[in-house]
């Protein structure tokens, strides 16, 4: 009897709970929490969710990158920290919560609205919570009715400072092969897209579009935006083979699609250095982080991100739907 090498089983993201908590039927009842975190910006979505969720302690995260003035900030309890480095910022936040007893790794029922949290921060927090031993965290995501200026909506502002790996998701070069492969979660921000595609211009690129998109027209808008960076993407013919689709509001579905894309790529050639870059919705960014935590890290994959000087504090209008994702780490 001989044993053949057994392919590692892909993580089953289908087991996670994903629940619509606001939609056509109005708000659904949610658990009550000990601690609720959300990032403040000028979109209606975050404010509405903040008001709706019941928690003993609620904290607004203030991101300097939104460029809000003192008078625009809420009066509620908030966390401000003068560092744009996601690791330093998030460590200060979580370590502070641990120190003052608001967060107890084994007991606290924690809920985070990821809608306004910057992508690198959102990913780092998720990883940090896992490293601290937190087992379950509920994450919420609120969809806009539409983006303020449709496909022309500006998201990032100012200069793009650098394209670098997100702290903690830096991968291991020792496992890297000769060929670079970059899976990009496609969003609206063609400036960020062009920056990352150009910075990794030696990499073969695979585009993961949000489809089904949040709203029917958003997929087309995102395709329109991405066409502007077609040259940097090195995909002049917009080839089918370089595209996949993952639901824009489903982190678990996104992680699952990424898992397939990477599997397929590694089957074609295992001598591959893997890179991921989430530029789509926050729900998709969470999916990228989860994929990395469960499967990408052992492969030496890294998550890169184009860091911009600032971000527009209001991109979407209204609240269309809200989702709860029960993330089991």
């Amino acid at each position: 009897m001989t044993f053949s090498a057994i392919e590692p089983m892909a993580h089953d993201y289908g087991l996670y709970l994903r629940q619509e908590i606001f939609g056509a039927r109005g708000w659904q009842a949610t658990d009550t929490y000990d601690l609720f975190l959300s990032a403040f910006n000028l979109g209606e979505r975050t404010g509405e969710v903040y008001g709706r969720i019941e928690a003993t302690e609620k904290v607004w995260l203030i991101h300097g990158e939104y460029g809000l003035s003192g008078s625009e900030l809420p009066d509620d309890k908030k966390f401000e920290f003068a560092s744009t480095d996601e690791a330093i910022y998030c460590k200060a936040l979580i370590d502070g919560l641990l120190a003052n007893g608001n967060l107890d790794v084994s007991r606290t029922r924690l809920c985070i609205d990821i809608t306004g949290i910057l992508r690198p921060h959102l990913m780092f927090i998720t990883l940090y919570l896992k490293r601290l031993g937190i087992r379950v965290v509920d994450m919420l995501y609120a969809e806009p009715k539409h983006y303020a200026l449709k496909e022309k909506t500006p998201f990032s502002t100012g200069s793009i400072l650098e394209v670098r790996p997100v702290r903690g998701f830096e991968g291991a070069s020792s496992m890297r092969g000769g060929k670079d492969f970059l899976a990009i979660g496609m969003g609206y921000d063609d400036r960020l897209l062009a920056a990352v595609a150009e910075s990794k211009d030696k990499a073969e690129k695979h585009q993961v579009f949000g489809l089904p998109s949040l709203r029917a027209d958003m997929y087309q808008e995102s395709v329109l935006r991405s066409r502007r960076a077609a040259d940097e993407l090195g995909d002049p013919n917009f080839a089918e083979t370089h595209r996949s689709f993952a639901p824009a509001n489903d982190p678990f579905g996104t992680a699952s699609v990424l898992s397939e894309v990477i599997q397929q790529r590694l089957t074609r050639g295992c001598d591959t250095s893997l890179m991921l870059c989430p530029l789509g919705t926050k729900a998709q960014a969470l999916g990228f982080a989860l994929y990395h935590i469960f499967e990408g890290d052992p492969l030496g994959a890294r998550i890169v991100f184009p860091f911009s000087e600032g971000y527009s504090p209001k991109t979407g209008t209204g609240l269309a739907r809200a989702w709860l994702y029960r993330v089991e780490l």
């Binding site: 460590k91 702290r167 020792s174 040259d231």
Partner: protein, 692 residues
């Protein structure tokens, strides 16, 4: 040919989108590889002197470096039936190609650690990475019989290079595994620092020990192993921070043994030449040589033209077999596939351009007549006192069968007006000159004026007829690409797309229409321009400056009396302009929006260092400007600041008004301006073509 068959032979514009086989097959050089004139020789891969291979985006750095790398060398060795060692000795080097972006240098910063600590880690990381790459090449070089006898000796020699904890591997594979294990450990430490705030790497080899030590150790093992260099090819150095570049510069300075560095970077990507050896700077031609690819092409237009023609032929051979062009016994020249813009003044095209209407109804004639009539009501102008005088001038300048000459004649009248000359006399002499030219087609004063102003005149006629100005022809496209092969490929890619979209059969039948070429040129200009959008604040400042400059050049191009012909260039003293405007000028140069004019007019005023620059010709279709530069406009300090300082919007509006008023009838400010010119340093101003 391996790989896909694209629907457009020019769709792959970047070297990194090409496979190793494609790099090999699409490689073209301007001379045989062993000739000192070849690009390959210019890379000086077999020379111990370190080389910086610089060039703007798309100038061919990566293609050259990848072509010179060991992966491609091996393919050529196989082709020539050479073993790897014999091949390496024949080439004089082995190329160890590494992309700096692969190091992800952004990891080596922040996380609560000092810059010095990160630099130590980065240095060790580079040491391990290049050491692994060198060992992998050694593994490939050693064919079996030699490998068995000396492998252990190499491993022992390499282990002595470590400051402590020497690896105890017995074969090269295990040695590589051990170095990779150490690098993995370092990766873990670097990543973990974000959570722990601690960084305590176990650095087992100090700077340069492995990078220079491994090649030396290898060649010391046997006399059979010498006779070539290990050339570390670091591409995309611009991805390193200033401190990290300083580290690389220190390696360049401390280079020793049978190893050298060949460094590829964008021109503006070199942040410093300083080293860590007491802050000393590396000096060009002393510590390193420099190869500037696009400059080399721009200096030698003929060479570049030949190179790109070859490059296009090679593309067609590989990706467009149905093409009926090509070197191999096919008759049609490459340039014949491109319809050329019409330039002959007697071409019936120009009659069509004015829609076949008689002279008096043509827009340029109406413009002159109306301007003179207007001036009549304000007291007239020399030689024009009444309507009959105007009529006489209009009859004198009319050339019914050759509207382009007629257009030139109106310009000559405007020019005389701006100078305050008698227009009746001018009209008579213009008529005589024009008639002589029509009958003899010979050289002379009139011919010279036509040649100088033809581009601007035709552009004005296109605008009058509300047509899009034409760009086209392989020569024009080559000129527009400014020494960047990728720019030319992009022009051709866009043109090819438009041509096929319009139902043409490029490179198969007929010619690519001027319409498709012009649309292609405009699309390529947009591509080039839009590349800058993502650069944020800096990019914005460049775009504002370039837009303003182009606006002024447009005023000149479409003026009644352009002060310079085919104006896309300017000169400015190095001492002129605010800090902001000088910085933005530099940025525009760094990003190739502007290019320095080489071998321009000689500097008559030797006390001032004056730079001469022009718009990158890839951009000119955006504004309908000329691709052949003739005039150079010296900029005053006020003009320089108004253009290059984004905050000077109001000042710029004044400059614009000033330019428009100088160059258009009734030329209120032209005479004052000419007085100003007389008192200014006019060294580099173009000779006045009408000053007879």
């Amino acid at each position: 040919m391996s790989g896909m068959t694209p629907s457009n032979p020019f769709s792959l514009t970047k070297a990194n989108d090409l496979s190793d086989d494609q790099i090999q097959e699409l490689w073209v050089d301007i001379a045989p590889a062993d000739s000192p004139d070849s690009l390959f020789s210019a890379g000086r891969f077999a020379s111990p002197m370190p080389t910086f291979i610089l060039g703007s985006k798309g100038s061919g750095k990566t293609h050259l470096m990848r072509y010179a790398s060991f992966a491609l060398q091996k393919k050529r060795f196989e082709k020539h039936r050479l073993g790897p060692l014999a091949g390496a000795r024949a080439d004089g080097y082995v190329g160890i190609y590494t992309l700096c972006s692969g190091l992800e240098t952004g990891r080596f910063q922040g996380k609560g650690q000092s810059e010095e600590a990160w630099l130590e880690v980065f240095s060790y990381y580079l040491e391990l990475s290049l050491g692994i790459a060198a060992l992998a090449v050694i593994d490939d070089l050693l064919v079996e019989d030699i490998q068995n006898s000396i492998e252990l000796r190499i491993c022992t020699a390499v282990s002595r290079l470590f400051d402590f904890d020497p690896p105890s591997a017995k074969d090269i594979g295990s040695l590589i595994d051990e170095l990779e294990r150490r690098r993995r450990e370092l990766d873990y430490q670097v990543n973990n620092a974000a959570f722990t705030g601690e960084l305590a790497p176990n650095i087992t080899a100090s700077r340069g020990r492995l990078i220079f030590g491994i090649p030396q150790a290898f060649q010391n093992c046997s006399s059979d192993l010498g006779g070539f260099l290990f050339a570390y090819q670091l591409d995309e150095l611009e991805n390193l921070t200033e401190a990290q570049q300083k580290h690389v510069n220190t390696l360049v300075r401390d280079r020793r043994g049978p190893a050298t560095l060949k460094i590829g970077a964008r021109q503006f990507g070199i942040k410093t030449h300083a080293t860590m050896s007491a802050g000393e700077e590396n000096i060009r031609d002393s510590e390193f040589e420099e190869l500037r690819l696009d400059l080399r092409f721009r200096r030698n237009e003929k060479t570049y033209r030949d190179l790109v023609a070859l490059l296009v032929e090679r593309r067609l051979q590989n990706f467009w077999p149905q093409s009926s062009t090509g070197l191999a016994g096919r008759s049609r020249r490459l340039s014949d596939w491109f319809e050329e813009p019409k330039r002959d003044p007697f071409d019936p095209f120009f009659v069509r351009l004015v829609k076949g209407v008689p002279s008096p109804q043509r827009p340029h004639m109406a413009r002159l007549r109306d301007a003179l009539a207007d001036q009549l009501s304000r007291g007239g102008v020399r030689g024009v006192r009444n309507d009959q005088d105007i009529q006489a001038i209009m009859s004198a300048v009319a050339v019914p069968d050759a509207p382009l000459l007629e257009k030139l004649n109106t310009l000559l009248i405007f020019n005389a007006w701006a100078k305050g000359l008698d227009l009746a006399q001018t009209a008579a002499s213009v008529r005589a000159d024009c008639e002589a030219f029509v009958s003899t087609k010979g050289a002379g004063r009139y011919r010279q004026k036509l040649d100088h102003y033809k581009s601007d005149l035709i552009a004005q006629m296109f605008r009058d007829g509300t047509f899009r100005y034409n760009y086209g022809g392989l020569d024009e496209f080559t000129r527009m690409s400014e020494g960047q092969p990728r720019a030319l490929i992009t022009l051709l890619k866009q043109t090819f797309d438009w041509a096929t979209f319009q139902g043409e059969r490029p490179f198969e039948a007929g010619s690519i229409s001027l319409d498709a070429e012009s649309k292609g040129a405009l699309a390529a200009a947009d591509w080039f321009y839009n590349n800058m959008r993502k650069a944020g604040g800096e990019g914005q400042a460049i775009l504002i400056a370039i837009d303003r400059l182009a606006e002024l050049f447009r005023i000149n191009r479409f003026a009644d009396n352009p002060i310079e012909c085919s104006l896309i260039g300017f000169s400015v003293s190095a001492r002129v302009g605010s800090e902001t405007s000088q910085r933005n000028l530099r940025l525009a140069l760094d990003h190739s929006f502007l290019v320095e004019i080489l071998g321009g007019q000689s500097e008559r005023n030797s006390e001032q260092v004056t730079g001469k620059f022009q718009l990158n010709r890839m951009l000119v279709p955006k504004w309908g400007l000329a691709t052949g530069r003739r005039g150079i406009k010296p900029l005053s300090e006020a003009e320089m600041n108004a253009i290059f300082d984004p905050r000077m919007g109001e000042a710029f509006e004044k400059v614009k008004a000033d330019w428009a008023s100088r160059m258009n009838a009734p030329f209120d400010r032209a005479r004052r301006a000419s007085k100003d010119m007389a008192t200014r340093d006019v060294g580099e101003s173009q000779d006045d073509l009408f000053g007879d």
